[in-house]
Amino acid sequence: MASNQSALQVRGLTKRFDRPAVDALDLTVRTGEFYALLGPNGAGKTTTLRMVAGLLRPDAGSVSIMGIDALSDPVAAKRIMAWVSDEPMIYDKLTPLEYLEFVAGLWGTNPSVAESSARELLTSLGLEANMHERCEGFSKGMRQKVALAGALVHDPRLIILDEPLTGLDAVSARHVKGLLGERVRNGCTVIMTTHILEVAERMADRIGVISAGRLVAEGTLAELRQQNGKNDTSLEDMFIALVDREAVAA
């Protein structure tokens, strides 16, 4: 259940490559909230999340995670956070269980707790039979599930996911959504980018729409509908209308 305390507070976040990728972005995500960040390709979603996760240094702005300044004390911030990218990066020569042992070791998780959690996660993601196989022969979906299990094994308070459902079949996607929903119910905060608007519509407590590096709309589905002036419209229609409007304005 979301509280008013913020899990993530971003102020004036800016990053330029050859053009501004993120443009003085302000974003607040409450503790225990499932937040979906939407936007067209190249809108700055991934760049924003990579800066929050400590993978990219911002040109300007601040990032606060559970009250910790992530730019001045990145180690403390990373201790309570997990990151999953759309391209699962795991070690081909390790088995899923060995991978999770490594991740748990990196986060300093109690080994016995981590082991039972790892086995449980792999089982719930349908990887029980593959637990002892090296990942090199895994499909993209299986690799994505291993990466996701790695993000969850150290029990983070904030989970950041960039397109986590890419490459997953319907059953696996349902498993992943179930796992994330359960984490949110237990007080964890989830921030997720997705192009599958139905997922955002069904799972997110609040939705943010980003375009050209700026937040152009934010709120619950009902609030977005209200802002859009149409109470019976779908998220897809609203999203397309918003993106078109921003494109015209630009």
């Binding site: 996760a53 400590g54 993978l55 180690v75 403390a76 990373k78 201790r79 956070m81 997990a82 990151w83 990218s85 990066m89 795991i90 070690y91 081909d92 020569k93 390790l94 088995t95 269980l97 060995e98 042992e101 490594f102 991740v103 748990a104 070791g105 990196l106 986060w107 300093g108 080994p111 016995s112 981590a114 082991e115 790892a118 002892h132 196989e133 090296r134 090199e136 022969g137 895994f138 790695g150």
Partner: protein
């Protein structure tokens, strides 16, 4: 598939091979093409100097030759064949494991047998073409000194290239059928790494055991080998006779090469597609021992150590390279063993060989652990400072080098404590230097990109090679002419300092 389509696919394969080679040479940067072409022309021109030094004096050789000369020429041709075989095995393995490419080809409406036949024929062509290019300076020297009859060497190179490709295809596919796709990849990589070196090392071992010298010619020109060798009309001398300009021998050799390749391709082509499918779908299970083990306690540093060590242990490149290094260490180790009963200055050769091997191995290990990180996002988002991450990776490299070389240095201690001390210092300095170069030039890459590591920075590649050579020479001189060691040591240190100055990361 029509003949025209087959021709089109063959040209596509050759174009791919050419581009891959070009990308290897240029590091994938278009701007470097002109520099690479000029560099290769200069290299080719310069290669004429060592070519002249090595074979210039043989240009006037005329048939009939005596047995020792026939043996030396035949052994040289066999060495070239072994090196080509090594390259061909590596290429054939890649054909069957290049999965992204296979998906496209196997889903296309063509007979897979034809496609794979062409692909393997392209390997034979590229292996032969590369050998022909490398042979050119040597042939030039022979032609200038001994006349146009030496042009027949090109024919010999072509014939042995075809036969090397044929043997490589047969060996790889037989391995697939006998030990399965997952082990074949590893074994083929090891075979490719050790086959070329193995022949030279075997000759050195024979020379040491029989004559107490490292000279391979001592064995080849010995009466014992001449006694075993067949008469002058034997088929065994065809390559040597063909190289000297015997047209009949050359034609027979070429015909044999084509026949061998054709037979192998006809014999195995039916199974090509099946082999490719099995290779692309094979999964590798962990060893059964890891199933029962529980998660181990320890610090973050220990978790990183364990991960790096497991990955290194399971790395096929490292396994093949370590085996090759061990093979190279066999001759000096034998010298060391002989010196216990027969002290000789030749034992001093052990030190530079060990120092050089440590530097080279540390360079490869350094790249694999420091640059070759398959989960960069994971380790970057882990709650530990980047400096600790790097430190753990460096510690692993030095630990592995220590574990491999400590027993050899300890053995040396019994023969000469002073030499053991110099060798230990040399191994540490060479390994530390190579690791430092990898650290200064580190860049994010996947471990599987190891083959291309040398193209990412030419400066790092040369610095790593010269640093190992420099420290090996310094260690050898420290034992014989200490003043000269000061000079080479200072030069190598200066080289390292210059490399650091030009490196992108000076930390």
């Amino acid at each position: 598939m029509t003949t025209a389509a087959l021709g089109w696919f063959a040209s596509h394969e050759i174009r791919l091979a050419w581009r891959e080679w070009l990308a290897m040479m240029t590091g994938g940067r278009h701007g470097r093409r002109r520099a690479v072409i000029i560099g290769l022309l200069v290299f080719g021109a310069l290669l004429h100097v060592p070519a002249y030094a090595v074979i210039g004096r043989y240009a006037t050789l005329q048939a009939p030759l005596d047995k020792p000369a026939l043996i030396v020429i035949t052994a040289t041709i066999f060495l070239a064949w072994a090196l080509m075989l090594s390259q061909a095995i590596e290429s054939v393995t890649r054909v069957f494991y290049a999965r992204a490419d296979l998906d496209l080809i196997m889903s296309s409406p063509v007979a897979l047998t034809h496609v794979f036949s062409i692909r393997l024929a392209a390997i034979a062509i590229s292996v032969t073409a590369m050998a022909l290019l490398l042979a050119t300076p040597f042939v030039d020297v022979l032609v200038l000194g001994g006349g146009l009859r030496w042009l027949s060497v090109y024919g010999v190179v072509m014939a042995i290239g075809l036969s090397a490709a044929a043997v490589a295809i047969a060996v790889t596919i037989l391995l697939f059928r006998t030990i399965g796709p997952r082990r074949t990849r590893l074994i083929a990589q090891i075979l490719a790494a050790v086959i070329g070196a193995g022949f030279v090392i075997a000759l050195q071992v024979a020379a040491i055991m029989s004559y107490g010298t490292l000279s391979r010619f001592a064995v080849l020109t010995s009466d014992a080998v001449a006694g075993f060798a067949p008469g002058p009309d034997s088929m065994l001398w065809w390559p040597a006779r063909a190289a000297l300009g015997d047209g009949e021998a050359l034609l027979l050799l070429l015909a044999l090469g084509f026949l061998l390749l054709g037979t192998v391709m006809a014999g195995f082509s039916a199974g090509f597609a099946d082999t490719a499918v099995r290779a692309s779908t094979s999964t590798i299970s962990a060893r059964p021992g890891s199933r029962a083990r529980s998660f181990r306690p320890g610090s973050q540093q220990q978790a990183l150590w364990r991960k790096e060590l497991v990955l290194l242990r399971r790395d096929p490149w490292l396994l093949s390279q370590s085996l090759m290094q061990l093979l190279y260490l066999v001759p000096p180790a034998l010298l060391l063993w002989r010196s216990f009963s027969d002290p000789s200055v030749v034992i001093m050769l052990v030190t530079p060989v060990l120092v050089m091997a440590a530097g080279q191995l540390a360079g490869g290990l350094g790249w694999l652990t420091i640059s070759g990180e398959d989960a960069p996002d994971l380790v970057t988002t882990a709650p530990l400072p980047p400096s600790r991450l790097i430190r753990a990776k460096i510690e692993v490299v030095l630990f592995v080098i220590g574990a491999l070389f400590a027993p050899l240095v300890a053995a040396l201690l019994f023969a000469s404590p002073q030499q053991a001390a110099v060798t230990a210092i040399g191994v540490i300095v060479a390994a530390a230097s190579a690791t430092a170069i990898q650290l200064w030039f580190r860049m994010q890459a996947r471990r599987s990109q190891f083959r291309r590591r040398q193209t990412s920075s030419r400066l790092a590649t040369f610095a790593e090679a010269f640093s190992s050579i420099g420290w090996a020479a310094t260690a050898a001189l420290a034992l014989s002419i200490p003043v000269a060691a000061l000079v080479t040591g200072s030069m190598t240190a200066a080289l390292l300092a210059t490399t650091w100055k030009f490196s992108p990361r000076r930390d």
